[in-house]
């Protein structure tokens, strides 16, 4: 499965919001079928990095992106259709948003948009995605209820199910577990480990231990810059390349 070209390539990526620089000159590769953990304190640019990847960053007023981002061979800022790109990149945002429609329709939304009409196929997809998001058992008897009526943690998992529903090549998870209890978080983490055999995962997390458990490699961002990227054992070990990484992962910061 491993090919020579990385799955995702950020090359000299700089993101500005007006005068504020959110990311400075980031060059970073994400390999096929790995989980890349992205860690760093608040405001270090982790979320902006993910949002450049499905181009939702440009929905924010005043955002400007320079440099290139590639998925496989495609420069995503030169692609014709942003919608096609977004179907290739699943995104789970930290604040869950259940769309104002039934649970079933929430998950079937993206497949329907790409033209899936067959009821049996949709039923299967909805069950698979909800199961992967560890939500199926809780909602299987009330799929017709409004997605917005679920609890915060359930809506969070609903957004995970939705992100998986369009069968993305790359899955971006931004603080997916903040509203989810530890046991359920573990179940989803197990699913992520299985999923990486078919897709590439970028995992932004404030829980350094989560990155340590899941990530094959990790990247450490600090004040808009990439400090270090490497195998997770290296970043979390005794001798990361940069002193600041050591201080951050061992909680000696600030």
């Amino acid at each position: 499965m491993v090919s020579e070209r990385p799955k995702v390539q950020f090359d000299k990526l700089t993101v500005r919001f007006g005068d504020h620089v959110a990311l400075r000159d980031i060059t970073l590769d994400v390999r096929h079928n790995e989980i890349l953990g992205i860690i760093g304190p608040a405001g270090s640019g982790k979320t902006s990095l993910l949002r450049t990847l499905n181009r939702t960053l440009e929905l924010t007023r005043g955002a400007r992106v320079t440099g290139t981002v590639r998925i496989d061979a495609d420069d995503i800022y030169r692609l014709g259709s942003v919608s096609d790109l977004r179907r290739r990149v699943g995104m789970v945002a930290p604040l869950p948003v259940g769309l104002p429609m039934s649970i079933y329709d929430n998950v079937a939304f993206a497949p329907r948009m790409s033209g899936v009409r067959d009821k049996t196929t949709l039923d299967g997809l909805v069950e698979t995605c909800l199961t992967q998001a560890a939500l199926w058992d809780e909602v299987k008897d009330r799929l017709a209820d409004l997605g917005t009526k679920l609890s915060g943690g359930q809506q969070q998992r609903l957004t995970i199910a939705r992100a998986l529903s369009h069968e993305p090549e790359v899955l971006c998870l931004d603080e997916f577990s903040i509203a989810i209890d530890p046991v359920t978080t573990m179940r989803i983490e197990e699913v992520l480990k299985e999923l990486k055999s078919t897709i590439t995962i970028l995992l932004v997390t404030n829980l350094v231990q989560q990155a340590r458990r899941l990530a094959d490699r990790s990247a450490f961002l600090l004040t808009s810059e990439l400090v270090e990227v490497g195998p997770t054992e290296q970043l979390f070990g005794r001798e990361p390349k940069d002193r600041r990484t050591f201080e951050y992962v061992h909680g000696m910061f600030g």
Partner: protein, 302 residues
């Protein structure tokens, strides 16, 4: 001495406060008083005929409207009701897609200066007096309809519906836009993040989410169209006739009241039957507004 003075001052403050509150309360309640006063007045004028001798079968079932006949007065309002219904229905066929389309464009697809300009121009549309609309129907649309459709007269259902349609567009746009704006941006972003195009977001997320508000927008537009008088009086041809095509001339209930009330003797049957028409109109608009209100309340609940 000084203490007494400040006490008096405090009392004065309180009195002032109470007076202002009372004044504002009077303003608020006055709207209710006026509405009920109008209902009472219209109903009072209609009541003697309504409960004394009006042939409802004839009123709702016959198109023979001869309130001035010396030998045989007949009050069949069917053609007038049909006139109002036909013009309003056709007006909505024109206005609903146009108004909602504009609301969607203004709220979702336009930005910056285009959006601001559009909103101002649409509000301007609402400020045009209805007699000016009637004039446009008479002078501009009339020959246009004759040319385009080969109709014998251009003052007909189509003409009136077109004017009414344009007149109810502004209210639909402003209320429809509010309804769309009330849908949280997070819904748009969530849907777009899944690869929905702008139109897919609008069609599959925003329209269902704003459904009640959009319904209210349409119904208030309907209310506007039903009650309009001057433009339809001038543009629909003033013929008591149940229309069989959009190119037929008709007369609406409102136009009938406006045209005939001045010629009637106060207290006569003709005078009273016009108030009966008014009562019917009032009931229709009341129902439409009530439905719109319930629809808006539906939005807030969610």
């Amino acid at each position: 001495m000084r203490k007494g003075w400040s006490k008096r001052r405090a009392a004065l403050e309180r009195a002032k406060e109470r007076a202002i509150e009372l004044l504002i309360a009077v303003c608020g309640v006055s709207a209710v008083v006026f509405v009920f006063a109008i209902i009472y007045f219209v109903f009072r004028e209609a009541a003697p005929l309504l409960f004394g001798g009006l042939d409802f079968g004839q009123f709702f079932g016959s198109e023979e409207w001869y309130p001035d006949s010396n030998s045989n007065k007949r009050y069949g309002a069917l053609a007038l009701i049909a006139g109002t219904v036909s013009v309003t229905t056709l007006a909505m066929v024109i206005a609903v897609p146009f108004g909602l389309g504009t609301a969607i464009y203004v709220s979702e697809f336009s930005t910056g200066r285009v959006k601001e300009t559009l909103k101002i121009v649409i509000e301007l549309l609402a400020a045009i007096p209805s007699v000016v609309w009637g004039f446009i129907g008479l002078v501009a649309l009339n020959p246009l309809i004759i040319d385009a459709f080969g109709a014998p007269v251009g003052l007909n259902v189509l003409n009136g519906a077109f004017l009414l349609g344009l007149m109810s567009v502004p209210i639909m746009v402003s209320i429809g836009e509010d309804a769309l704006k009330a849908v949280p941006d997070t819904y748009r972003e969530a849907a777009e993040a899944m690869g929905a195009t702008k139109w897919q977001v609008t069609w599959r997320v925003l329209l269902p989410a704003a459904r009640n508000g959009l319904l209210a927008a349409v119904l208030l537009g309907v209310g506007r169209a039903i009650g309009e008088t001057m433009a339809v009086l001038m543009a629909t041809g003033h013929a008591v006739h149940i229309p069989t095509s959009p190119l037929d001339s008709v007369r609406t209930m409102t136009a009938t009241i406006a045209a005939e009330l001045g010629e009637t003797a106060r207290g006569s049957d003709h005078y009273r039957i016009l108030f009966v028409l008014g009562t019917v109109l009032f009931l229709i608009t009341f129902l439409v507004n009530l439905t719109a209100d319930l629809a808006i309340r539906g939005i807030k609940k969610r």
